[in-house]
Amino acid sequence: MAKLYSREALEEILKAYKYWEENILPQWLSRMPERQKEFTTLSGIQLKPFYTPADLSDFDYIEKLGVPGAYPFTRGIHATMYRARLWTMRMFSGYGGPEETNERLKMLIKAGETGLSLAFDNPTLVGIDPDDPLAEGAVGVVGVSVPTVVDMEIVFRDINMGEVTTNMTINPPAPVLLSFYVAVAEKQGVSYDNIGGTTQNDPLKEFIGQKTHVFPPEAAVKVAMDVIEWSVKNLPKWNPISISGYHIREAGATAVQELAFTLADGIEYVRQLIARGLDVDDFAPRLSFFFDSHINFFEEIAKFRAARRMWAKIMKEWFGAKKPRSWWMRFHVQTAGCSLYPQQPWLNIVRTAIEALAAVLGGCQSLHTNSFDEPFRVPSEFAAKIALRTQQIIAYETGVADVIDPLAGSYFVEWLTDEMEERAWRYIERIERMGGMLEAVKKGYPQREVEEAAYRFQREVEEGKRFIVGVNIFREEDVEEIRRVPLLEFNQEEVERRQKERVRKIRSMRDEVRWRNALEELRRAAERGDNIMPYVLKAVKAYATIGEIMGVLKDVYGTYVEPPYY
């Protein structure tokens, strides 16, 4: 027991609060009424004028906070946190073909980024080749086109894969992209023990946000679990999944929903893996997470802290994990793309800095900062560099990384952390009653919740209940400023032509028999319900393309079509 406040102290504090409320506040309000009828976070949590120990009356320090590096990890997963090692500065990058992206990655490494993160184009994200009719006009547009192992090799030209870790934002085709990565790393002479990075590989959130789904929910989960099982056994440094709240949030969820749905997704995956016969302590340390950092500063910090505490509890108490590392919630953060606007675009630099600060005060392990040109196009080199430098300023100039979890003990932050947790538990309980997240997603429950929240937010902005500078307050009608934003220019048609040509050339040059056999073996393995990873890796090495491999899997598993409701 480590209760912070004695009953006597609390009574005194309450008395002082009451006195303020009855004797001091009314006089002030009569002269100076409050700016708004109510003050709420983006999740709609009502805020009091100020917080006192009376708001934490039962607060048990050891139970709620403890010390950094120990259960329940509210204060951070590492005992040293940023005093020993700063978060990884990992900029989500990729555009055009592998050549363009290779140049961008090398520029970012030179500029001081400490981890890589690949953004793929839409055809790659849904697993089709650049010469598929559906890919027309989309090759290399929002990310890099990587349809074959050869393209991956070009992405990593002159980059030692044994020295960097790479995040790949890839979901249904995660087995394919991981196989490309492994095959190229092997060719570079990197041993499996030294291949480090992350595949997003989080199928459930695809149905709630992001929406690059391919397979129906059950099969999508099965494929993702194959990747995890294989990675845990073969790639000790790989994070085979990044359980992502980011896209759920960007699709319109509140911070509470983001927190709850992400954890509920995680719970579902843990159950699935245990059902496969895996020991929870064998895979739990390899699970990683990914959150959004939005503009409502304290709510975001509270969310990160609550997330760590909740996951530790889930792993220890629900699933009986024994290793402390199994209780860790390691997470990447990206600042909120949806909080950025084209109007007065330079303001996005400021928003991103504030959001990045919240991520750091929340104890993230890695961070991507959005570029100010996010509302227009994939970032220019200039904009990407400012975004990276924003992190470097936070890390090296502000001093916020010098003390671990510096906001702990703030009556407000601790109250809000508890409040976020409690509200998230309520959602999780509801999802549990529905039979877990896979079932809830099949019923469309989280999808519905997120859409309602997105619409509610839009109405609040339109009604002037939420302010966005340059959008619904301090507007400027002059659009010349927007025109002055230097945008990334590249010849997309040329990239598309080059990518089509390359994939055709690879098809014509490969060993036909080896290729055909590899795909046939993959089909049979998928039909048997075996783990597909070894077969995908073999197919990739036989130069099968992403479209061909995904084609075989779609034949076996089917394709998901989202019902067109709104």
Partner: protein, 149 residues
């Protein structure tokens, strides 16, 4: 924003019917769904295509549903390509009288390009829904009066 029906002043008794379309592989549907709901609440009749539609599917849906406006939401940079193909296809199907509007993450320099291709209006992020509603009413009214049927 007023969510009350705003169409009372319309010269026609028919509700304005809008097809909200997602074309291609872009999965960003937040904007499309928010607009669909907002237009519905403003008194429009809204048909949503769902994700990953081809241009053919969208044109056929627009003709079959007899919509007054096609609204295309695009967040992945292919807006010019898609606009060209869509307008071409509408012409091919003799449905070029159905006006097309677009919205999403579109650089301002592309707005004129889209308009020169034949897109009637382009709405950038941050545009108040009230403005979108007013513009759509004006576009639909023009179409009604020019049709005279």
């Amino acid at each position: 924003m007023s969510m009350e029906p705003m169409l009372s002043h319309l010269t026609t008794k028919r509700k304005i019917k809008v097809l909200v379309a997602k074309i291609g592989l872009d999965g960003h549907d937040r904007g499309a769904k928010v607009i669909a709901r907002a237009l519905r609440d403003a008194g429009f009749e809204v048909v949503y295509t769902g994700l990953r539609q081809t241009i053919d599917q969208v044109v056929i849906a627009a003709i079959q549903e007899d919509v007054d406006i096609i609204g295309v939401n695009q967040h992945e940079g292919s807006h010019i390509y898609i606009a060209k193909k869509l307008i071409e296809k509408l012409r091919e199907y003799g449905a070029e009288d159905i006006p097309v509007v677009m919205g999403g993450s579109i650089p301002i320099v592309d707005v004129e390009v889209l308009k020169s291709i034949g897109v009637r209006e382009v709405f950038l992020p941050g545009t108040p829904i009230k403005d979108i509603v007013e513009k759509l009413i004006r576009i639909a009214e023009e179409r009604f009066s020019s049709k005279k049927i």
